[in-house]
Assembly symmetry: C2
Homo-oligomer: 350 residues x 2
Amino acid sequence: MTSARIAVIGGDGIGPEVTAEALKALTAVAGQDVFDFVHYDLGAERWQRTGEVLPDSVLEELKGVDAIVLGAVGAAPGSKAIPSGLLERGLLLKLRFAFDHAINLRPSKLYPGVPTPLDQRIVAGRDVDFVVVREGTEGLYCGNGGAVRVGTPHELATEVSVNTAYGVERVVRDAYRRAQARRRHITLLHKHNVLVNAGSLWNRIFNEVGEEFPEVERRYLHIDAAMIALVVDPAQFDVIVTDNLFGDIVTDLAAAVTGGIGLAASANINPTGEFPSMFEPVHGSAPDIAGKGIADPTAAISSMALLLDHLGRPELAARIDGAVSEDIAARGAEKLGTVEIGDRIAARLA
Amino acid sequence: MTSARIAVIGGDGIGPEVTAEALKALTAVAGQDVFDFVHYDLGAERWQRTGEVLPDSVLEELKGVDAIVLGAVGAAPGSKAIPSGLLERGLLLKLRFAFDHAINLRPSKLYPGVPTPLDQRIVAGRDVDFVVVREGTEGLYCGNGGAVRVGTPHELATEVSVNTAYGVERVVRDAYRRAQARRRHITLLHKHNVLVNAGSLWNRIFNEVGEEFPEVERRYLHIDAAMIALVVDPAQFDVIVTDNLFGDIVTDLAAAVTGGIGLAASANINPTGEFPSMFEPVHGSAPDIAGKGIADPTAAISSMALLLDHLGRPELAARIDGAVSEDIAARGAEKLGTVEIGDRIAARLA
Ligand SMILES: CC(C)[C@H](C(=O)O)[C@@H](O)C(=O)O
Ligand SMILES: CC(C)[C@H](C(=O)O)[C@@H](O)C(=O)O
């Protein structure tokens, strides 16, 4: 029996709506296990009310939980109410960095019957099922940039991508382990012909660690070439490992070709267990459809399978995955609401 | 009548093969115009023979030509014969930077009958026809990075993205001009919620310059969201403007959804005319199919339309575009060789 304290940050836009369905699934599957939910009111509304994004005391409290469930944070792009990126950086990225979420795990699977934007020629009869292991604590996400002469014709703005052997090795090793447990194929995405410093570090470590996994076939692909590969033959991938920004870009494309961002789950894993890991759908707050009850909670629910896996309950994780894929297969062309999908999946789990 | 001296760098792999067909088309369309070709032996073979990538004297000579036609440079990824990125950086990027190719122009058009990896639902009856204006002289392509403690567990490698108001403004203004002359819609791609310094510079200039083009509708999209947009609804785009690395990534996806990299042309334009502009297919040297006579020269030939436009011969450019699209329509499912396609297009132009 597991007893876990789970912090819940519904966040902005559709975040709270899909999160409610995720918790419903978790509760339905729990059985003997006890999941205690502690809700945190964080996001755009809190900021507008109090000027607080993530108070230190809350960050401190969060350190003590077993896992964090996050809905979505962020204002609509172009919104003037909230400074660009304030919540993304002050809350989402803050948690990923403060809790050393080195492994950002993003599985992509094309379920039978799910509409894909790709031609049937490309996917019919093929098993499109891969996972992107995105580095989560380095690269261009460090906030290591600056600007001078802002607002003048002589403005200079920089962004620095920071890559360490320590950071690269742990994510690369994690990716190899996953590949070893899957179809034993791994692809490194980078752009080492242009980003020579970071690229050679990634490349070297990828090859070195690869020697420890002789059964895993490894291959390198430029990030631009990967764009093509993902639309002309996504079934070729098993495990993809890449840096923070390339991972951000490639996982949206991966989600799109496997049925859309409404289905894409993710885990932000702290590899040592020193800090809580965090589970969230890849999609954002989607303010345009917030409050309408039409957001697809599937990604949020699937993220609970990643959470259960992480908490050492793979059988429960498998039951969530099973219920999700059964429900997806049963949906057909029906347009279902947020709660309806959540209820149907919870019913399958009960 | 135009008389132009054109430097030709066939380069590596399929580069020389497709370039020969591009020159054939240029000669066929020339009529009264005189194009003098000066061939330069640069690329992998020259480097292996002499250790030279781009001698200063050659760079000096190239300054005097009216335009440069480039095939492709670069060894196969993973090849051990040539250090990673040596030719890309020493030749291709060297030319783009030395000749201040600020505007990297990459049109994407889905010709009728061309197979796309996208479902027909998405493209049928839609006009997928957009152009990416990629910044060519800044960003992460500056080679402004470094590494310490290389090869140790404490290695730190950085890459710096450099963005200036000067560099951003000229490419943004160029993009607005093109949008004004097209369907009057422009999209900025960036990641300003994470890359705040560079992002706010791009955003601000995008909005400021936009005020000068009241007829052009402008919109911002995160680079990750653009991945989705390009596969679920590519017809929504008219002009896209973005930085060097995002442009690299997005143009390969754009090429893939509009029939493949075999059709994607590009121009590297020096906006002041102080230095020669350079015209090249987006595809690389494709060493796996080099020498077999099967590389598609269409992208190289289409790049000649961009060259003619640049040299002030839009009527000739339109004839090349017309011949290419007629030929594509006539191809059907036939598999044609490099020379065959070149001959057919040249025949349409003669
Ligand atoms: C909201 C944003 C900061 C975030 C990221 O860039 O990582 C999102 O796009 C994601 O992929 O989780
Ligand atoms: C070969 C490489 C340096 C180049 C780039 O990254 O610009 C290529 O991918 C391109 O898009 O022209």
